[in-house]
């Protein structure tokens, strides 16, 4: 299976995340899965004239593309011309190249939240009219339109994340290479379900603090970050606390909130990222699938039942009280 990777209006961080794959050399991993890089701007040998010639051949069909990976938002501005991003060496805007090659490619994969939904590049006043390949925020559409399907009937596959975990990318590509990715393996937003059917909250080391609503009040506290510091882990679809980052990391293990970077529209949460918006003391963003009345009742109950150990540790940057040791045999 051959793969063409193009970078559009993003930061290149998806590629850098991918290169950090922790399973030996990424290049060997790809080879082992039967994936051949036609071209990738950061790692391939071919530059300038050779690269342009190849892209032209991919666009007019002389070179068949099995998988087109796009990293970075699609910039439609100014005034729909796409002029904020040209592919170097010629006049044609990037969005035109993407449209042409996507119409011929066997599969189209959005790498990262920028090419999935618009992402950070679409934040604020969205100066460049940035969008994703098949979504503009939560709305189906984007550059290729809501009805886009690849030659196998799949929509754009959204390996969301800012950036995505290296394994999300490689495993998605491996599933495609082995013909094992079908429509039922994608969630409602086109994300591969192997990582999107989890919540960041699952496996978070702060779960005990969450249970008792023993909350961190400032950065570097050990408590749960949901009540005050903006954590969206109970609503974010990703397995970040189960499949760890860079060996043994995750946002929560790093001491800061999950900003829901795999979700469409995460770039504009409607409140400061690192603080939790509340109405009458209750966080607005309730955990997924949790009825509000129950949340309030349980929160009140669990707060009153918080063990001293949990309450004190929540407001400290290191363990003040260890779990007590009980002897069961005399």
């Amino acid at each position: 299976m051959n793969l063409l990777w193009l970078q559009s209006g993003g930061c290149g961080g998806c590629t850098l995340s991918w290169l950090g794959s922790g399973h030996g050399s990424l290049f060997h991993e790809l080879k082992d899965e039967g994936i051949e890089l036609l071209w990738h701007p950061s790692v391939s040998e071919a530059g300038v004239d050779e690269a342009r010639a190849l892209i032209e051949q991919c666009a007019d069909g002389r070179v068949a593309v099995d998988v087109l990976c796009i990293e970075g938002s699609l910039l439609r501005g100014p005034r729909g011309t796409g002029g904020f991003h040209r592919f170097g060496g010629g006049a044609q805007p990037m969005i035109e190249w993407v449209r042409q090659i996507a119409s011929r490619a066997r599969h189209v994969v959005a790498i990262g939240s920028c090419s999935s939904w618009g992402g950070i590049t679409a934040a604020g006043i969205n100066p460049t009219d940035a969008c994703g390949l098949q979504y503009d925020g939560e709305a189906a559409g984007g550059l290729l339109g809501p009805d886009f399907r690849d030659h196998g009937g799949l929509p754009v596959i959204n390996v969301a994340g800012c950036p995505p975990h290296p394994d999300w990318i490689t495993e998605t590509l491996a599933m495609l290479a082995h013909g094992r990715l079908r429509a039922e393996h994608l969630d409602d937003f086109g994300r591969p379900r192997f990582f999107a059917d989890q919540l960041v909250h699952h496996g978070c080391p702060r779960n005990e603090y969450y249970e008792f609503k023993a909350s961190a009040e400032k950065s570097s506290d050990q408590g749960c970050l949901m009540e005050h510091l903006g954590c969206g882990g109970t609503q974010a679809h990703a397995d970040c606390n189960q499949r760890l980052w860079n060996g043994e990391g995750s946002c929560l293990r790093g001491g800061y909130a999950c900003i829901r970077c795999t979700e469409p529209g995460f770039e504009e949460p409607g409140h400061p990222f690192e603080s939790t918006p509340k109405v009458a003391g209750i966080p607005i963003g309730l955990p997924s699938d949790m009825p509000k009345a129950w949340f309030i009742a349980l929160a009140a109950l669990s707060k009153s039942a918080t063990p001293t150990r949990v309450r004190e540790n929540a407001h400290s940057d290191h363990l003040l009280r260890a779990p007590s040791v009980k002897r069961t045999k005399r």
Binding site: Q7, G9, G10, C11, G12, G13, C14, L16, S17, L19, S21, G22, G24, S25, W39, P41, S42, V43, S44, G47, V48, D49, A51, R52, S73, L75, T81, F84, H85, R86, F87, G88, G89, G90, T121, G124, N126, P127, T128, C162, P163, S219, S220, W245, N246, G247, G249, S250, C251, L252, R253, G255, Y256, C261, P272, F273, E274, S275, D317, H318
Partner: protein, 481 residues
């Protein structure tokens, strides 16, 4: 009669790069550098609460995301009038150093060296060996480097939660308190990386590389035993004379970085044949040749604006042209070490000025200088002591954050009005190095370094041009942002 040739996309650089060459009698008469991508971060940041900058600015750049975080955290700390506790300062140094060192490694092995595997060099006696080792994606080096780099970046998992794009680097310190057992793990990872560099990259102890003080000693090292990819590079550099290729302005600038208790590991300064007075107040951004609405004269970044326009006479880049007291400067590892007074760095530019070889050697030299400092910082961490203090920025305030990214000097200037970001201006290292012309017609550093090189408008682009461009380790996503 001159002909024009538009060259792009340059690959194995971070982001989008295109260069227009004016070719006359087989040489480059003039070069015009452009990044054909504009995203508008300075516009996106306006109106946000100041702390949101910590989420947004790392996403300017996937390769120097921590440097962007660090500059932003410093600017916010400056605006709030606070400084992190010692643990916070040390953690910030370690996080930035881990990114910078990984970048130097990535640049050498993945971006720069593969050019020597190109068929252009098929007649050189070293070509077959070099191609086997450094060929992009299939060579033995890239496949050896990726796992070592990933292993080293596990430091980021512990120090910063994840890389790229962390929120651990805060104005008041680090969100990630480390316990003693975790500090041991970080030591272990550093030791592994040291061993990797000493066997694979240098064939020598880091301390011995750091102690090289002159070109003559570098030559003695090269001919010595021990192997290592730096020796290989030095042999190529002598064979095809990379010491006289890619001379720029020879005016070297560094903001200084890695704050220690009473000094910075690498100090700030300006060097032009000798140390010169360095004043950040003398920085101005010229937009005469960039696609932005003119605000009259060049502005200091604290007063700068970013308003993109579709058409503008004479403009050819999305990159502004920063100048220091009206002068073009070069920034990067070479500049940093020249300013810091490393004898080898000074000696390398003594005869032939800034060059492709000197820039590459300076980067690897930094690996040998910074890794021992990282070991020292780890030893200074004090579990149980504070890691982060809280800060409430004033509603009307301003601040500046200056750091050194792998590629050179990075500055953030923030102005806060009524508790919201009123203006946020960024000048990245490659904005300096790859700037377009200014109102006086002075070409940017790369534009100067390319002028005079052989080129033709019909044949494939000479390898020398690739070497010069990549010797700056450009990051185009940062450049324009």
């Amino acid at each position: 009669m001159s002909t024009r040739r538009v060259v792009g996309p340059f690959n194995r650089v971070e982001g989008d790069l295109e260069i227009t060459l004016e070719i006359e009698r087989g040489r480059i008469a003039a070069a015009y550098v452009n990044s054909p991508l504009y995203r508008g971060f300075e516009q996106i940041l306006q109106g946000k609460v100041p702390a949101d900058a910590l989420v947004l600015v790392p996403r300017i750049c996937g390769i120097c995301s921590v440097a962007q975080s660090a500059a932003s955290a410093l600017a916010l700390a400056d605006a709030a009038g606070i400084a992190p506790p010692p643990n916070g300062r040390l953690a910030a140094n370690l996080t930035l150093a881990a990114e910078n060192m990984a970048d130097h490694l990535t640049h050498f092995y993945l971006f720069f060296m593969p050019d020597f595997a190109h068929a252009d060099y098929a007649t050189r006696p070293w070509h077959a060996t070099i191609a086997e080792r450094f060929r992009a994606t299939t060579g033995s080096a890239p496949n050896q480097i990726l796992p070592a780099r990933a292993r080293f970046m596990q430091m980021m998992g512990l120090l910063a939660g994840k890389w790229p794009h962390t929120l651990a680097v805060q104005p008041g310190g680090s969100t990630r308190p480390l316990q003693s057992s975790e500090i041991f793990r970080l030591h272990r990872t550093l030791r592994e990386f040291r061993q990797f560099l000493e066997t694979v990259t240098f064939g020598a102890r880091l301390e011995d590389v750091a102690a090289i003080t002159s070109r003559a000693q570098l030559e003695a090292y090269r001919t010595g035993a021990g192997g290592g990819d730096l020796r290989t590079f030095l042999a190529i550099a002598d064979d095809i004379d990379l010491w006289h290729l890619g001379r720029g302005t020879d005016r070297f600038m560094s903001y200084g970085c890695y704050q220690e208790e009473d000094r910075r590991l690498f100090p700030a300064g300006l060097w032009h044949g000798a140390a010169e007075a360095f004043d950040v107040a003398a920085i101005q951004e010229d937009i005469s040749h960039a696609w932005y609405a003119a605000a009259g004269l060049p502005q200091h970044p604290a007063a700068g604006s970013t308003l993109p326009v579709e058409e503008k006479d004479g403009a050819y880049s999305w990159c502004k042209a920063p100048r220091l007291a009206g002068q073009v400067v070069e920034t990067g590892a070479l500049a940093r070490q020249v300013v810091a007074g490393h004898p080898l760095a000074r000696d390398m530019i003594g005869g032939c000025g800034g060059s492709v070889a000197a820039r590459v050697v300076a980067r690897l030299l930094e690996l040998s200088l910074v890794l021992p400092a990282m070991e020292r910082w780890l030893n200074q961490l004090a579990p149980g002591e504070p890691w982060c203090i809280s800060a409430q920025p004033a509603d009307e305030t301003s601040g500046v954050g200056l750091v050194e990214a792998a590629r050179g000097s990075l500055g953030h200037w923030i102005t806060v009005r009524r508790g919201r970001i009123h203006n946020y201006q960024i000048i990245a290292p490659t904005t300096w190095n790859f700037s377009p012309r200014d109102a006086q017609g002075q070409p940017g550093a790369l534009e100067q370094a390319l002028a005079g090189l052989p080129a033709s408008d019909t044949e494939t682009l000479p390898a020398a041009i690739h070497h010069v461009v990549r010797s700056f380790d450009p990051c185009m996503v940062c450049t324009v942002h």
